[in-house]
């Protein structure tokens, strides 16, 4: 926050110029200085310095909230969204929790996109809720979503109403993604009638590495900054709007330190690995065999979770989501 004339009564033009000449331009600069030293150096009243300090602290500080209040809020807003697949629901202890960020990581054609479609279809089952599908590649696919809504296939009106409540957006770089997330948050926090996003319950961001890789490179701290900022934003979105956020990620190989077997881990590095609340790694069963068409079974391993013991592995069938093994 920058200091401005008229922020409070003590912050007049004279004070501002004095602070400016001393090289204090932001609130952080001001607060980090000792008020006594500051008043002596700038030759201003100690009382004024203290009053500005109080105003700044009051404005910048977060207010403490009791845990009981938080618990009540959580109880009233928490929804557990089914993923539409019994095996995954079991893996995630019921499904996708609102307020949490869940990550699906897997190689190509391991069913990440399909699971996202299942989740979107399941999220709009409820008459009021809606889902937002953000994606760079335009991978949102109508036949798949219709397939996921097979239980109401006969009822045109129901299908239409559900489809209308899934919003799809293509964004092409990480900055557009920021703009969009900001917009969603701003719109949904307004007190008006349901915004264009409806009663948002699920936000899906497909293929996160594709947003991040183009900015990776020379300036590593800056890029890590963008990545952690994105993580914070997604979590903020999940928390403030009480929505479940689902992102997909790819896998990279782990090399070095005497590893001879090719182990795979989720991409985007260590900084990102702290961000999701839940992480599932998908692997094709028998992916190493050259047979074609490959089996439709996928092994899902929960490697990070806020509800379950990890690691926890289950096998699901991409062709038949109700099948339990």
């Amino acid at each position: 926050m920058a200091l401005k004339v008229g922020m409070c009564t003590a912050m007049n033009a004279e004070m501002f110029t004095k602070l400016e000449t001393a090289g204090i331009a932001s609130a952080v600069d001001f607060i980090s200085r000792d008020p006594e030293v500051l008043s002596r150096e700038l030759n201003v009243a100690y009382k004024d310095v203290c009053s500005i300090r109080r105003v700044l602290l009051a404005e910048l500080c977060a207010h403490p909230v009791s845990a009981l209040k938080l618990y009540e809020d959580a109880l009233s807003s928490l929804t557990i969204l089914s993923t539409g697949c019994s095996v995954l629901d079991q893996l995630l202890d019921g499904g996708l929790y609102t307020g949490e960020l869940t990550e699906l990581a897997g190689d190509t054609a391991t069913g990440k996109t399909r699971i996202c479609h299942w989740c979107a279809a399941a999220a709009v089952k409820n008459d009021l809720s809606s889902a937002l599908y953000i994606d760079m590649g335009g991978s949102f696919d109508i036949p798949t979503i219709l397939d996921a809504m097979a239980e109401v296939a006969g009822d045109q009106a129901a299908v239409q109403s559900r489809l209308r409540r899934i919003k799809c957006l293509q964004v092409f770089d990480v900055f557009q993604l920021f703009a969009l997330l900001e917009k969603v948050m701003a719109d949904s926090s307004k007190e008006e009638l349901p915004s264009e996003w409806g009663n948002l319950k699920l936000v899906i961001v497909e293929n996160l590495p594709l947003f991040i890789y183009p900015i990776m490179g020379a300036n590593a701290p800056y890029n890590q900054g963008i990545l952690s900022r994105l993580g914070l934003k997604l979590k903020q979105l999940a928390g403030s709007l009480s929505v479940a956020v689902l992102v997909t990620n790819s896998l990279v190989s782990m090399y070095g330190q005497g590893r001879t077997d090719q182990q795979r881990k989720a991409a985007l590095g260590r900084v990102w690995s702290h961000v999701p609340h839940n992480r599932i790694i998908l692997n094709r069963v028998g992916s190493d065999s050259a047979g074609f068409p490959r089996p439709t079974e996928v092994e899902a391993t929960l490697v990070k979770s806020s509800h379950q013991q990890t690691p926890f592995t289950a096998t699901l069938n991409l062709a038949d989501r109700d099948a339990s093994t």
């Binding site: 926050m1 920058a2 200091l3 331009a25 932001s26 609130a27 952080v28 600069d29 190689d107 190509t108 054609a109 996109t113 399909r114 599908y133 760079m136 590649g137 335009g138 949102f140 696919d141 109508i142 798949t144 219709l146 397939d147 559900r162 489809l163 209308r164 409540r165 919003k167 799809c168 957006l169 293509q170 092409f172 770089d173 900055f175 557009q176 920021f178 703009a179 969009l180 900001e182 917009k183 719109d187 264009e196 590495p209 594709l210 890789y213 183009p214 990776m216 490179g217 300036n219 900054g225 963008i226 900022r229 790819s250 001879t260 077997d261 090719q262 991409a267 050259a290 074609f292 068409p293």
Partner: protein, 369 residues
């Protein structure tokens, strides 16, 4: 409008951003109300830099407002309606077409992978010709951009294919005994060749430059419905020591291709080479498409062309597609002309239950002879 987006989330120069943050400008709202001169004075950056910053922040605020105007966010229902008008570019090979749901889809990325001589370039040339098929014959009546990085664009072959396609279209019109006056729409070889815009790129710099220019070209020429890159792999498989650079460049190219496909409603067809993957545990190896795992996530449809050892037929396998199940079909590259074989294809299809089809394109060696 209270606009509380952090300036760190804008595409600003990191040095300038550092200076802005130092003096306490951490929200867009704190910048927008100020003049460039004010910002430059308080942050110690030049006025030009300050203007640049304001421009970026304001533009972004505007696009953000646009997102709220219904034009951008589409519901799945809108997409369902659009899906019914989804256009496809036919390959003239019924099995491959049906595998892809009617041909190479417009607005999507299709990747064709295969070892040398499997027919990748043939398929690309065929598509560049087929995109011209007039609408009344079920085509998309567009033009094509052909970005050639391997020198595989052989004009004799292209002319041959174009001639066959023209002949085939004429036969279809005659067979249907259409009374409509189609003379104005009639397909000619000149028209086809005139509608294929070729770029010859020798290395990845040229490829990236050509791809960067695509939006301009596509704005000027709205008829372009197909962008072919043959091959994407070759500029990235030699003279690339820095693998992280390659990953970054490929991701940037992927963004550009996806943007072109979505914004200009074109089909993007990319070819990729094959590489050998050795399984460390089992010790055996098999062929996989090149360019790495991250690239594999980009395309919507991935077809791998191989040769079936048992009956020596060319085999196309759909390795990746969002809705379609994994499938495979056989095709052949024959010396016959397109139109004749096309009829022969339908006959074969009717009589035999196997997906055993004659694909009607010549081998490249034939054109070279």
């Amino acid at each position: 409008m209270s606009y509380s987006r952090e300036i760190t989330t804008f595409p600003l120069n990191p040095v300038v951003m550092g200076k802005l943050l130092q003096v306490g400008f951490n929200l867009a709202s704190s910048l927008i109300s100020l003049s460039p001169v004010n910002i430059s004075l308080s942050a110690g950056i030049s006025v030009d830099e300050a203007k640049q910053v304001l421009k970026i922040v304001q533009e972004d605020v505007n696009t953000c407002l646009q997102i709220s105007g219904e034009c951008v966010a589409k519901s799945a229902f809108d997409l369902l309606c659009a899906e019914q008008e989804q256009e496809h570019i036919v390959t003239f090979c019924e099995a491959v077409d049906s595998m892809l749901g009617g041909g190479v889809p417009v607005c999507k990325l299709t990747e064709i992978c295969g070892a040398p001589g499997m027919g990748k370039t043939q398929l690309c040339l065929q598509l560049a010709v087929d995109v011209h098929i007039p609408e009344h014959l079920g085509g998309v009546e567009g033009e094509a951009v052909y970005i050639d990085t391997e020198g595989g664009l052989i004009l004799d072959r292209l002319v041959e294919l174009a001639r066959s396609a023209v002949l085939h279209c004429q036969q279809v019109v005659e067979a249907s005994q259409s009374t409509l006056d189609q003379s104005s729409h009639a397909l000619t070889v000149d028209k086809i060749l005139g509608g294929i815009h070729c770029f010859r790129c020798h290395d990845y710099y040229e490829l990236i430059a050509a791809v960067q220019l695509l939006p301009t070209l596509l704005t000027q020429n709205e008829k372009i419905k197909l962008v072919v890159v043959d091959s994407l792999a070759s500029p990235f498989r030699h003279n690339m020591d820095d693998m992280s650079l390659r990953r970054r460049l490929l991701a940037t190219l992927a963004q550009s291709f996806l943007r072109v496909a979505a914004n200009f409603k074109t089909a993007v067809v990319l070819t990729n080479q094959m590489t050998t993957k050795i399984m460390p545990r089992e010790g055996d190896s098999h062929h996989i498409p090149a360019l790495g795992d991250n690239w594999a996530h980009v395309s919507h449809n991935r077809i791998v062309l191989t040769r079936d050892c048992s009956n020596n037929k060319r085999k196309a396998s759909l390795y990746k597609g969002p809705n379609k199940k994994e499938e495979l079909c056989f095709f052949q590259i024959t010396l016959k002309a397109v139109a004749n074989s096309w009829l022969c294809v339908s006959k074969l299809f009717g009589s035999s239950s196997k997906l055993e089809l004659v694909h009607v394109i010549h081998g490249a060696h034939h054109a070279l002879v």
